[in-house]
Amino acid sequence: MQTVEDTKPCFPLFNEPEYRDLITNKREQFEETVSKEKIAETFAWTTTQEYQDLNFKREALTINPAKVCQPLGGALCGMGFEKTMVYIHGSQGCVAYFRTYFNRHFKEPIAFIADSMTEDAAVFGGQKNVHEGLQNATKLYDAKMIAVCTTCIAEVIGDDLGAFIGNARKEGHVEKDFPIPYANTPSFVGSHVTGWDNMFEGIVSYFTQATMDGKVVGSNKKINIVPGFETYLGNYRVIKRMLKEMDVDFTFLCDPEEVLDTPANGEYQMYAGGTTIDEVKDAPNAYTTFMLQPTTLEKSKKFVETTWNHEVPKINIPMGVEWTDEFLMKVSEVTGKPIPESLLKERGRLVDMMTDSHAWLHGKKMAMFGDPDFLLGLTKVMLELGIEPTHIVCNNSNKRWEKAMKKLLESSPYGVHAKLYPGCDLWHMRSLCFTDKPDFIVGSTYGKTIQRDTLYKGPDFEVPLIRLGFPIFDRHHLHRMTTLGYEGGMYLVTTLTNAVLERLDEKTKFMNDTDYNYDIVR
């Protein structure tokens, strides 16, 4: 029972004896559950190699996927442009879900609108929704651009988005020249990273495809940066800072850094920052375009190469020391600007941190899951620190990723233990964490249940989660951090090292039991 002095929320309220009894009595009297022994036996079976073999035979069932659907990525891309309202053609429930998903990760307001297709639209097509929706959206939300992507209802019934938008202009639902780029983002193809790629291509082709006359590569003396599905705000900031320090002019093509980080000052700003339409129009005039997540930006890359005639530099995601070196050298090569002393010093600081921390990380076995390029970068960082990646689960992998990953792992003696699991999900990962236990698992919040499940087998089996990636719902403000560049390397080294040290404390803090290694110096 609660008291005013000690009011308890769920925990520890439900640990009180009256609630323990209530839950036990309910189970025994009404739930018709199987015996405790049977449950224990079944749980133990789920931790075995036999179960893993069965688990890996799955062909139809996905359990705890580490990916979501295309329009979520399309929506993030749309947010990165100045005063752009993301408009999703399809069912409204999807849009509520996309907003919620980002709300929970960023702890920020997310303004997307739906045109709320329902049963009649499923029968007659969604043109009426597009017309009415565009009219209302342009009146209400003071946007400079409306970026449209689709949910699966519109894709399954084959709505012709281009024609619908064209007709909306013709019939006066929206001004003739109001910018409305769009992309088809079917949820049953690819994943959120594909959606980002599609929306990006949709936006840049809308503004540049027909106006390539007079465009001259290199004439604006800038480089373009294409971030891909990027949810670390620090990553936008660090790339900009490095380029500024190099005195390189650049255009961030898709830049949601401001809109995802507006101040609490009494006013809600629906829009903030973002790439301007003029910048997009001018983008073909750049020296070239850097794709920061090269394995998942195929469509955008192809457009940039064939329409803008850019020679897209072959780089890796700039994570860790060497791939950041590579990025900066490439930028320097393209622009002729030298890499300044300040970045050299920053590099040195990161390497210094690595020398300081390597002893805690060397030989640690880490499993990981997440988006393709993020995993490549993370693996690179681990290999640079002597960490041994083990199970690498990429639910939304592709052939390019597999090839790149294999090459990377073969390049280092620390990569020999790693095994790739393309297309696998986190229930596969759960099995792997039981049968071949890593020291840690690195990934999004969704790794949390694996930590719990492994602990349930016993304290020696627990695989602690290190939270890196997307989404992170259960820790605050980590989305503000940086994983790219030398600065990102610093965050990663700090995070990984301190996770190891925290874990050591957890295991050694028992007086008169583990009176060693619980050190105040490390």
Partner: protein, 491 residues
């Protein structure tokens, strides 16, 4: 802000509507009203459960959210398949915090996302074969599950899949309940039809499964309907019912099980908390099994005591005495909580915009703390909800249905409430505006809020948010200085 007159409130609505194009304005006007307690039937003054206007930023979800997310998801020993593309299952995973007690992945499955992850070929060739195979795989990996539900996502209904046939065939094969649910997101206008479809699926595939089976009943058997155990709400409710002498045979659906649902037709009284999402099955059991049902409200000591007495009135003196005993037991603690928090919250104005029952059910709890609800609205209510709400609200307060992001922000700018209770999509915009905000779907990761134990947490939470010092930091001191000098000059 001081209270509005009816005319001022009406003028505010009209002002807010001004920006809309003609058609949208006409439509939205029907969903906004100034409360008039003299009117008995809300249909005279507000329209609800209609399609959202395209392009206006509705906060509504879909039928799948109402079925999988709300009704089916919390049943712990049934595996819900999110049947279709990969997103829906992930987006609806874990956000509602409907707690359960059990061994995840062995006898309980609420926090696991099972999906058929449709690919293009499934759209082209249909997903039935995949579904059949998937059910076999589930059976292999999770032998202790009690049943399976197939929660349809949008494409399933569009490509002509026959999930009913698959369900029947597999049910016969594996001998477990397999329930096809046609809750495709495009059906209906909000979550609401999803609730209805989910209820109907329970009616068709579960409720009569034990009609011929014996059950050791007592005169005091009840079921809790429409409590999803968010933050443990159903446990904090169950404890009171048990303490007054009732036997709670089933929880629908928070921490619920298939057996409990199948045994529900044997109870004497169905207790309905969320009317909107479960009145359908309550009515069905009333018709088919002659089980009466009763709406109750376990938010705040006043309403809880009223409800306990109401519930007891359906039973004998033993239960009536039990209710009084329970009320007497908790009253001192409740008084202490009110004594602590009421002085800190007295007179604070609240605006609510939530889902099924909370815009009306929490009013009493706020009033117990001396707070006043000056605006309330629902994402997916019907007019029977508004009938009930109008009685609870004061005259000349605002009532808004399927409020758009724009309307809600404008209402808040004008009315300047001290607290908003709404959802995660609304939350952060109001944080920027400096308006204290609590999520009233997920209890903002706190809870329970039901029952006497829950009210203690509710009071604590409202106080911590309304009175937290952070809200005083929004203006930088040098800007405050400029403002006051500006004012001085103006004066």
């Amino acid at each position: 802000m001081s209270e509005l007159t009816r005319e001022q409130a009406q003028a505010l609505i009209e002002e807010v509507l001004e920006v809309y194009p003609e058609k949208a304005k006409k439509d939205r006007a029907k969903h906004l009203m100034v409360n008039d307690k003299t009117i008995e039937q809300s249909k005279k003054c507000i329209t609800s459960n209609r399609k959202s206007v395209p392009g206006v930023m509705t906060q509504r979800g879909c039928a799948y959210a109402g079925s999988k997310g709300v009704v089916w998801g919390p049943i712990k020993d049934i595996i819900d398949i999110s049947h279709g593309p990969v997103g829906c299952g992930a987006y609806s995973r874990g956000g509602r915090r409907n707690y359960y007690a059990g061994t995840s992945g062995v006898d309980s499955f609420c926090d696991i996302n099972f999906t058929s992850d449709f690919q293009e070929k499934d759209i082209v060739f249909g997903g039935d074969k995949k579904l059949a195979k998937l059910i076999d795989e589930l059976e292999g990996l999770f032998p202790l599950s009690k049943g399976i539900s197939v929660q349809s996502e949008c494409p399933v209904g569009l490509i002509g899949d026959d999930i009913e046939a698959v369900a029947k065939k597999k049910q016969a094969e594996i001998g477990k309940v397999i329930v096809p649910v046609r809750c495709e997101g495009f059906r209906g206008v909000s979550q609401s039809l999803g609730h209805h479809i989910a209820n109907d699926a329970v009616r068709d595939w579960i409720i009569s499964n034990r009609d011929d089976k014996a059950f050791e009943s007592t005169p005091y058997d009840v079921a809790i309907l429409g409590d999803y155990n968010i933050g443990g709400d159903a446990w904090a409710s169950r404890i009171l019912l048990e303490e007054m002498g009732l036997r709670v045979v089933a929880q629908w659906s928070g921490d619920g099980t298939l057996a409990e649902m199948e045994n529900t037709p044997k109870v004497k009284l169905n207790l309905l908390h969320c009317y909107r999402s479960m009145n359908y099955i309550a009515r069905h059991m009333e018709e088919k099994y002659a089980i009466p049902w009763l709406e109750y409200n376990f938010f705040g000591p006043t309403k809880i005591a009223e409800s306990l007495r109401d519930i007891a009135s359906h039973f004998d003196d033993k239960i009536k005495e039990g209710a009084e005993r329970v009320i007497a037991k908790y009253t001192p603690a409740m008084n202490a909580i009110i004594a602590k928090y009421k002085p800190r919250l007295q007179g604070k104005k609240v605006m609510l915009y939530v889902g099924g029952l909370r815009p009306r059910h929490t009013i009493g709890a706020y009033e117990d703390l001396g707070m006043e609800v000056i605006g309330a609205g629902y994402e997916f209510a019907h007019n029977d909800d508004y009938d009930r709400t109008m009685k609870e609200m004061k005259d000349a307060t605002l009532i808004y249905d399927d409020v758009t992001g724009y309307e809600f922000e404008e209402f808040v700018r004008q009315l300047k409430p001290d607290l908003i209770g709404s959802g995660i999509k609304e939350k952060y915009a109001f944080h920027k505006m400096g308006v204290p905000f609590r999520q009233l779907h997920s209890w903002d990761y706190s809870g329970p809020y039901h029952g006497f134990d829950g009210f203690a947490v509710f009071a604590r939470d409202m106080d911590m948010t309304v009175n937290n010092p952070c809200w005083g930091m929004l203006k930088a001191p040098w800007l405050k200085e400029e403002e006051s000098t500006g004012e001085l000059k103006a004066a």
